[in-house]
Point group: C3
Chain length 319, copies 3
């Protein structure tokens, strides 16, 4: 694995999941691999789980970690080629990234979309510029359109909690929210579940909330949430803003919020969410505090997902 | 010791002080205890001494440390049960705390009072919610009403500098300030000195600045500062805002500032302050720069107080 | 070396450069020296390269590192003696610095000039107060008038890339910028190159942009940029605001920006810049992306400069 930006960087999803579960059982077995290696974690946006879990994962592998809040600790970055930098940006990624490549062995980057310009966001300019100029493995800590560490975590959690021989039915359902959120988690979950191919995968959302087909192709789209939920083994709850007419909130219908009533339609489904979650807006207290929620397990699996990926990046680097 | 929130968590104050002084003499004797253990230090408010000394203490015990500025690095937290989170808070403590409990072995939290609502502040909702949901030992880095690491440090410093057989006279005196400050340090110092029981303890403050009796009971209250200071061995200087009519500044009389003249009334008293201190407002240059000030010694003892407490929390966890 | 504030703290520049290049070849040879030692890195202003490279350098020497953003993580500091602190500053350096001296073995400080008051800035009040009160070695991470770690890096880079027997011609040229910047890098580079004495050193800038003679004495001043550039082996590009009529922008003439055309006048000069650089304002894309730029090499040499200096400070401390 050269970089970790999307599921396309993964040769074998099940092998990566197995590696993560091995680390969960024995966190410190590969401390020599990362010894005298250093990862830089660059945050252009806030983060809690990603920040903490990736640092812990790297330290479990024996790495040193430096966390850097770009624009808060340092300087606002410019990403446009040939920019005349007479505005607010102080440093170009073409200058910053190669230096990161000298200081670090692996570079993690979080960079959210603007939700203003679909073409720019979906070109993944920011993280691609880092890949182009850093010269070291780049690890996405969530980019403009995808959140691959989350999706790997999600599959680890599904693998861990579903012990039947048949394929599980997995439903990704849109949920209400007060702010316009990125499509990253939904895009990425769709992309990974489709690539994994080990489930019956249904996506449900209000009209006009369709995601980019590039990621959803292979899933069934069902606009009736109740129909979608029927017999589900896993319900992944997540809000996203509109993709087609980009970055808007068309619907905030509270009836889309998952409740225990709706959970009755499922096969006693496990309920998933990437967190942070707006309680009683996106997801009800009764679900989050109930026996079906696996959100804490998901979040704690973030460590093992990151550790498996870093192990791959470091091993590849040594080859 | 299961958590460290107040003096009530301490079985034997003198034993804890002795442990701290042992670490001061030999900082690195217990490095194995914290090896492969990790503490998270969550700051909902600024901090210098607490931040630095607790990190150093944890590292002295062999622990790994992650410092996290909540709301700046990550997301603003919600603490009210059953909140409908359609406002500014992004994540509920019910969701965040259990994850901290998975990532860390011990969790330190700093959370100041609002000074707007006495009932809420004095219920210690924030830190209690963390204790309720984290499932790991919680260490107060100063909460809405108390600052126990500071108070332990204060007793360590008194123990270190007072070598006579008799009980010392300790005076806690209110001092002027330009801002409305929490009652935490004064509450906590009162609570600890009373629980310790090894002194003649007097509290002096302007009318209407009485503290919560829950913490001061056992101390003498003397509204005449000069009378209070007479023959004192230690003078602890600290501003606080009003408790009864909550969070106000009634008095800013500069004559309450401690000076060398007033120090003449004492038994050559050592002068204490938790810092940060507003020079020439709370406390005069002549005192702070003089031979009687022990404020630097106090601040440096913060390391050993934190190390003794973390040692207790880790030892208890292993049992 | 007791502190590292300017070239005056260096007994032998060439020996320090040689030490840095030794560390570049073998980064981890002195890990025992810093073992159980701790450096505090205090930032009163933003930083990227300095922050990262100094932390890496310290860790290469086996030290523990704590980075602290003053005023963001903690409290705004007061530096004036005898201040009546009834304003916005919360803690006096007289109280904060001695505590840093207890917590750390070495203290690094970044503190920019105000550019409002020349006398204050050029007195270096802030860093001098830290030296006066900390009681441990102080390392400048860029102060009001100087940036010695950058200048050492610059000489390392010149030494590394110039292999001829003769002295190189080095030209420091002013460049346009949209903001009023400190004179630190230009002052410090001038001071070091003059003290080094191993070059033919020319400074070129628009009228009224003369630097403080204290630093430039020994260099030739040539106001015609093209004449200055003739046969140069190194061109150091940097903006600074006016010194005499302090902190202003008199000229923003884009013709002062270095281009490939102008580079033709030189002896195929290496182009240097301390970064961050405003592309196509201070320095053109064609130069920065061309073969003559050594800016990434410079930035990566920051690690070895810091490591050599920390090695000196620790060695001196042990004596």
């Amino acid at each position: 694995m050269k970089n970790f930006i999307s599921v396309n960087d993964v040769a074998d999803i099940d092998a990566l999941v197995a590696k993560a579960l091995d680390f969960k059982a024995n966190p410190l077995t590969s401390q020599a691999l990362g010894s005298n290696k250093r990862i830089g974690l660059l945050f252009l946006n806030p983060s809690m789980r990603t920040r903490l879990s990736t640092q812990i994962a790297a330290e479990n592998l024996g790495m040193k970690v430096i966390v850097f809040n770009v624009g808060q600790d340092g300087w606002a970055l410019e990403f446009e080629d040939e920019a005349i930098m007479s505005g607010n940006t102080v440093e170009h990624v073409k200058d910053a990234a190669p230096i990161m490549g000298k200081y670090f062995d692996v570079l993690g980057i979080r960079t959210f979309p603007s939700l203003q310009n679909k073409v720019d966001d979906y070109s993944e300019l920011y993280i691609n510029q880092f890949i182009k100029y850093a010269g070291i493995p780049v690890l996405s800590l969530e980019s403009a359109t995808l959140h691959p560490l989350q999706s790997l975590t999600d599959i680890i959690t599904i693998r861990e909690t579903f012990r039947e021989k048949r394929k599980p039915k997995i439903v990704l359902t849109w949920a209400p929210h007060v702010k316009a959120l990125p499509q990253c988690v939904a895009n990425s979950f769709s992309q990974w579940i489709n690539a994994w191919g080990e489930s019956d995968f249904v996506i449900t959302h209000p009209e006009d909330y369709e995601l980019d087909e590039k990621f959803t192709k292979g899933a069934s789209i069902e606009l009736d949430q109740k129909k979608a939920l029927k017999d589900a083994d896993f319900v992944y709850v997540k809000n996203w803003s509109t993709y087609t007419d980009y970055g808007r909130i068309y619907c905030n219908d509270p009836s889309w919020m998952l409740t225990n009533d709706k959970l009755q339609l499922t096969n006693n489904a496990k309920v998933m969410h990437c967190l942070p979650v707006r309680r009683n807006v996106e997801l009800s207290d009764e679900i989050l505090d109930g026996a079906n929620s696996v959100v804490t397990r998901q979040a704690s699996n973030r460590v093992w997902a990151a550790q498996a990926v870093l192990h791959e990046l470091l091993t590849n680097k040594l080859q």
